[in-house]
Subunit: 409 residues, 2 copies
């Protein structure tokens, strides 16, 4: 006989909580004496035949959200986090941020060059890279400009607006450390400068100790080739570091004694503090979370049972805890965390909840395995001022009106 | 400072093996004195703007494989396992098996009815189901007719032909046990009959103890809505049971004292044994594995380093071990297993290998956490004869020719 699956303690707790809400849930479900009468007959005609590469249902309209612009090639689109299930972001809905548009690259012609302070410069084809030892790991990527509007009065009205520059995929590729070992890094090298094959040759500098740790030269995303807007055919996946440094359309890795001090690490992607100084090379994306259901723009159809669900992540490691408040921060409850929890990946949290129909505010607060706790807006502003612009990871609040409408506070 | 990621013992072993192959790998990578000269310049023109719902690169042609037929609506397509990375099957390439084509269903009109031997018949909308407590779990689904040709001389020339009726997704939905508790199952009920909304009303019978365990009424697949060909808007996901019982376009769950004895569990999906008797309700998909790279139809470009990679799965639980032989079964080595390993899910295995250029045969053998070991073809035939047709999980062999061509043995 089959083995029973063992529930985790948090799953048992969640289930117990739900079952104690029986009456509330029961109210949501329609009992009926003659069920056949209210169910449409199944169609009597044959459906369509199988096909080679499937598409989603025409009834599904969830889409990335961009801003109208004269120069869309330097723009971004945001992921519809409020529509997602689980922890994998559908590749078609992964957020975008481009500096010179999406180049169309023939993988047969593409090369990756490793040079500079190395013993043995290398030029690799994509096929050569695919023969090397590979890893697949689930990681989020988040633009450090995500939630930028939260520093201001222009706060995001939906989870997509406020947190949609973050997505999570299963990435596959070769560890950068293997390629560096093959090239033979000279002892005077301390930085690696990664350059993309877009028209602006977007490039960023990474400290070498990170490169030797967990950085992946990736060619796979969610089982298939990386999508064009995510860097096809090669992307540098730098777990936990700000999105911009996860260089797309990767063509060049130069070992160097110094960082490049390029545009994207001086004029941009530095964090201006209240005293006029700036944080530079502020790579790591700190612990963060957002409730995606219910979230801004949605409406609770009725009083009674609802599942509160959302996403949490940390660039430093594993999400250890997510607390949810349904009374504007007066009290907090531990949400259930979806297992297994991957390092530096979206973690799904869920909490059963009975809404009494009164106006309230709901919030979530993540803690990672370094003990770091997601800060309040006030704490973040106290530390960084109002001009920091990048790296906003403060607690996000949603107001639920007596009419069930969910809005930004 | 950031914490270093801790390698698992199997990762360390794999890395050590690879590094000891240094010379072999070095031979695969092109060192060059003037790398700039051999690398194409990046494009100088802006790429395309972001868009709402992304597509794969036009250079990518991997596709599902079907057979020409007068009645394609009753056919199947196979997943290109040889092209996949990691453990997630891209939804667009998930295998298909239909009995009356893919119906187009408006989720706003769709209902799920739960009736029969219950205290409180229920009719649920998709939105009502989405408000209930949810789970997301990674599970494979495999048609029990997968690898059917392996009983015969018509063995699959590629991994797609021989093993492509299996795929793996992150499924999201509500546990069936919650819905059954809401409906209140009568003590005389022992079976659940699940019916789809396709034109043939495809239906199957499940034992009630399985329904109370880990079965999911799923609406999400890999982060977004289930794809039409996987059952949009609702599918019964029955972890580890043959694909056919994972009823798509789910519209009806009837509690009953007896199984339905429908066409798909009498005339079809029973396993004819050598003595003329048949196995019926042979639900579970046993442990199985296949090497996907190198696999039939591929060619090793050169002697030296190659990574052997593949997929293993078991309907009974977790894959504990995959052994690989590169000498036609004379000796076996443990492959590295990709962590974390999910229960009843694809598990990726990898083994570094130096090919000496001589003709050989490679094989893989999976063991699950019940101790079950994937059988040889001879052992399977001894137990089930030649007419069993369904549930072929024997060890698959690939021959590598001296010219590098990989073919079925």
């Amino acid at each position: 006989m089959r083995q029973k699956r063992t529930e985790s303690p948090s799953e048992t707790a969640s289930r117990r909580k739900f079952l104690s809400l029986g009456a509330a849930v029961g109210g949501a479900l329609t009992a009926c004496a003659e069920p056949q009468e209210v169910v449409e007959e199944a169609p009597k005609r044959l459906g369509r035949a199988p096909d080679k590469y499937g598409e989603r249902s025409p009834f599904e309209r969830s889409s990335r959200l961009g801003r109208a612009s004269k120069n869309p090639e330097t723009g971004s689109t945001r992921s519809p986090l409020q529509d997602f299930h689980g922890i994998i972001t559908p590749s078609s809905l992964h957020f975008e941020r481009h500096h010179a548009g999406v180049p169309e690259i023939d993988p047969a012609k593409h090369r990756l060059m490793i040079h500079g302070m190395v013993k043995r410069p290398l030029v690799l084809t994509v096929d050569e890279i695919k023969t090397l030892p590979s890893v697949s790991r689930v990681h989020f990527i988040e633009c450090s400009g995500n939630s930028r509007g939260e520093w201001t009065d222009r706060k995001g009205p939906t989870a997509q607006h406020s947190h949609g520059l973050a997505s999570c995929s299963e990435w596959t590729g070769v560890l950068l450390s293997i390629l560096l070992d093959e090239a033979g890094v000279n002892p005077e090298a301390h930085w690696l400068i990664a350059e993309g094959a877009d028209a602006c040759k977007m490039h960023r500098s990474l400290p070498l100790d990170k490169c030797r740790d967990d950085v992946i030269v990736a060619y796979g995303q969610n089982g298939e080739a990386i999508r064009p807007e995510q860097g096809y055919p090669l992307r540098l996946v730098v777990p936990g570091f700000e999105g911009n440094i996860n260089v797309k359309w990767l063509r060049r890795l130069m070992l160097s004694g110094q960082p490049a001090m390029g545009r994207e690490e001086t004029s941009k992607y530095t964090d201006l503090l209240a005293d006029g100084k700036a944080r530079q090379f502020s790579f790591t994306m700190e612990a963060k979370s957002v409730i995606t259901r219910p979230s801004g723009g949605q409406k609770l159809a009725r009083e009674g049972f609802h599942e509160i669900a959302g996403l949490a992540w940390s660039g430093r490691g594993v999400i250890e805890r997510v607390e949810v408040s349904t009374d504007d921060g007066n009290t907090w409850q531990d949400a259930e965390l979806q297992e297994p929890r991957h390092r530096i990946a979206f973690t799904r949290f869920r909490l059963p909840w009975t809404w009494d129909g009164a106006e309230t505010v709901i919030l979530s607060r993540a803690t990672d395995d370094t003990g770091y706790v997601q800060p309040t807006e006030q704490a973040l502003i106290a530390a960084r001022g109002h001009n920091s612009d990048y790296h906003n990871n403060c607690i996000k609040a949603w107001k639920i009106g007596a009419d069930g409408n969910v809005t930004h506070v």
